[in-house]
């Protein structure tokens, strides 16, 4: 069972990707590529290709937010307009769809945007308490690889990182 977390810092993406490739090539029997997290100051365009497919489902929630927005918009406006039933409408429809479409459209966007943002916060682990394994150099120019290892594999993984030009290795107990 993994009870240590290691953060290895690298000079650039090339060095970090070289290590990722080696892990993918089973250079470390105790670490699977799915357990590797890369931390970086920018997002590398090839990161998905290197780390494998890790889908982000935010768009589904956005779609749900949009559908909710447009549905809520329709019923909200229709309910409000229906309360005018007692008043003379002068031949106009009580629930006027063409004009309601404008506001339904605005509500679609409003709810879609808010749902997207809330989902982003949740799915990215923002606002949640995380481990202390972090380096301020990650927001400058260095790249970090985080792996979880057990006691028995700790030293071998550390030496693997050192052999592969890790600038610094930090660890924490899980």
């Amino acid at each position: 069972m993994s009870n240590h977390r290691l953060l290895a810092m690298f000079k650039d993406f090339d060095d970090a990707f070289e290590v990722v490739d080696k892990i993918k090539g089973k250079a470390l029997s105790s670490v699977e590529i799915d357990d590797v997290t890369m931390m970086s100051p920018i997002e590398h365009p090839d990161i998905d290709e290197k780390l494998g497919d890790r889908p982000s489902n935010i768009a589904y929630f956005t779609l749900m937010g949009a559908i909710f927005g447009v549905t809520f918009g329709f019923f909200f406006l229709a309910a409000a307009q229906a309360s005018f039933l007692v008043q003379p409408q002068g031949g106009k429809p009580v629930i006027a769809l063409p004009t309601n479409f404008v506001l339904m459209y605005e509500m679609l966007i409003f709810f879609a945007v808010w749902t997207t943002v809330i989902t982003f916060l949740g799915m990215s682990g923002l606002l949640s308490r995380r481990g202390t394994l972090y380096s301020e150099k990650l927001t400058v120019d260095e790249i970090g690889l985080v792996v979880e290892v057990s006691d028995g594999d700790l030293e071998s993984v550390k030496s693997f990182f050192k052999e592969n030009r890790a600038l610094e290795i930090r660890e924490e107990k899980v």
Binding site: T37, M39, I42, I58, S83, L103, F110, T116, S124, R130
Partner: protein, 481 residues
């Protein structure tokens, strides 16, 4: 010189640590001109506050608002600020979707401009109402008489559209700033560290966060484009859905959107010059970026010009006597000076952007951008005022130039906007640090790739020459290719 090198908007050799250091240092010690600008904005705002207090005490008559001038300058200014808000988010979103790399050093302040323009615009309907304490009537809630707002009215659409746009734009701005907040958290001390630590929401820059960030930012950009267009179309409906001459025009929504983009681009140019100087951002807000902004502004100016001419032609050849008389009156009547100022500033001045020397001369660009925005402001005024002054009933004809109170409030709104904006750029980086790093990273790789290809081609050519000029076997068309 290769195309990549010729088009590059920033020095790709900038070290990432230096980008952090430069931007943070600029926030902490701007030039003295920044403080002067801040003081001027505060003074302007005081003018508006004093005028509003006076208007609040003595009523709307002090602003000259009476039949037929129920709207006039306040609403023209409202439309102006709404328009100004469009370029920031809309251009940022469009340029993000089409992967225009040059947006990266300037999109942050453009988005901030959007948010603060909307906040400024939102004040004008309140001021215009007179009874500001009844503002909540516009909110869609059921009152004690069981009456809802009229959802068929474009004025209610305005309230919905603007609040949606304001919240979405603010979220777009905030989400885009999260990685920069983390940089500031890591590299500042004292209260700033705590402040940015809260705002970065625990950002660590891991691959999951970046992946979700990229997806979220793209989704928001996709929603903001139609939203921005809908907002200004709705604002145009305030006019176009009436039957007043000069307002009841089919092309008003695209005309408003083009005008909004135009004034927004001009404002981006003004702020570009100011921020570049205030924060010593010459290396980040480069002349190449200014050039591209100018070209974009010119293109939008031509769209606006075209739509304006279409409107004139439609009025001239359409047989509506009221519309035609109004158009003639705009060009020759009491508002003629304003009308021709609009034509000059909006249609003629943009041609200065065709000259490269001018595009790369910051003081000239400052003057040109201010003239463009002057043109766009008077354009808004020319939409609102002449129609009210010379509508269907001749006995109602009355020209209003605005009272001191109106002018002071309009003048002060620029101070309010400037104050908010200047505080923002002092507290938050006006240049996106992580995006500039991305820009440098991509640029460096593109240049390396191009050099590699060149070397490869040179080797192939040398090989072909050594082989007596014959094409290599199995590759007969190489030389021709």
């Amino acid at each position: 010189m290769s195309q990549v090198i010729q088009d590059k908007v920033i020095d790709e050799k900038l070290e990432w640590s230096r980008i952090n250091a430069d931007v943070i240092a600029s926030m902490q010690s701007p030039r003295r001109a920044y403080w002067v600008a801040l003081a001027v904005c505060i003074a302007m705002l005081f003018c508006a506050v004093a005028a509003e207090i006076y208007q609040y005490k003595y009523g709307m008559g002090s602003a000259g608002l009476n039949n037929p001038h129920m709207w006039d300058m306040y609403i023209a200014t409202f439309v102006f600020w709404i328009g100004m808000s469009h370029a920031g988010t809309l251009l940022s979103a469009i340029l993000h979707i089409i992967h225009a790399q040059w947006r990266k050093p300037i999109y942050r302040f453009a988005e901030a401009m959007t948010t603060f323009s909307l906040m400024t615009a939102g004040i004008f309907p309140m001021i215009h109402l007179g009874r500001v304490w009844n503002l909540y009537w516009v909110l869609p809630y059921v009152s004690d008489r069981g009456i809802w707002p009229n959802f068929r009215s474009p004025l209610v659409w305005d309230a919905f559209a603007i609040s949606t746009y304001l919240s979405s734009s603010a979220l777009f701005l905030f989400i885009g700033m999260i990685p920069d907040m983390a940089i500031l958290r890591d590299h500042t001390t004292g209260w700033r560290k705590k402040f940015y630590g809260i705002l970065c929401l625990g950002w660590r820059g891991d691959d999951r966060q970046w992946r979700n960030f990229r997806r979220t930012y793209m989704l928001l950009a996709c929603f903001l484009i139609p939203l921005a267009i809908s907002v200004h179309s709705i604002v145009s409906s305030d006019f176009a859905m009436s039957i007043m001459p000069g307002w009841h025009i089919t092309t008003f929504p695209p005309y408003f959107v083009a005008g909004a983009l135009y004034s927004g681009c001009a404002a981006i140019m003004t702020l570009f010059v100011a921020l570049r100087y205030f924060f010593r951002m010459e290396e980040y807000m480069t002349l190449n970026i200014m050039e591209k902004t100018c070209k974009l502004t010119f293109a939008i100016a031509m769209v606006w010009t075209y739509l304006n001419l279409i409107e004139f032609a439609a009025t001239w050849y359409g047989h509506n006597i009221y519309d035609k008389e109004l158009l003639i009156d705009k060009a020759t009547g009491p508002y003629a000076a304003v009308f021709w100022t609009m034509i000059f500033c909006g249609m003629v001045v943009p041609f200065t952007l065709c000259f490269q020397k001018l595009r790369r001369h910051m003081p000239s660009m400052l003057v040109v951008s201010i003239l463009l925005n002057l043109g766009m402001y008077v354009e808004r005024w020319m939409i609102v005022a002449p129609t009210l002054a010379m509508s269907h009933q001749p006995h109602q004809w009355d020209v209003l130039w605005g009272t001191v109170i109106q002018w002071a409030i309009v003048f002060g709104s620029f101070g309010w906007f400037g104050l908010l904006f200047l505080i923002f750029v002092k507290l938050f980086p006006c240049v996106s640090m992580y995006e500039v790093k991305e820009l440098c990273f991509h640029l460096k790789h593109e240049i390396e790739e191009e050099e590699h290809e060149k070397q490869h081609a040179a080797k192939a050519k040398a090989g072909a020459t050594a082989g007596g000029g014959a094409s290599p076997a199995g590759n007969p068309g190489l030389e021709g290719a």
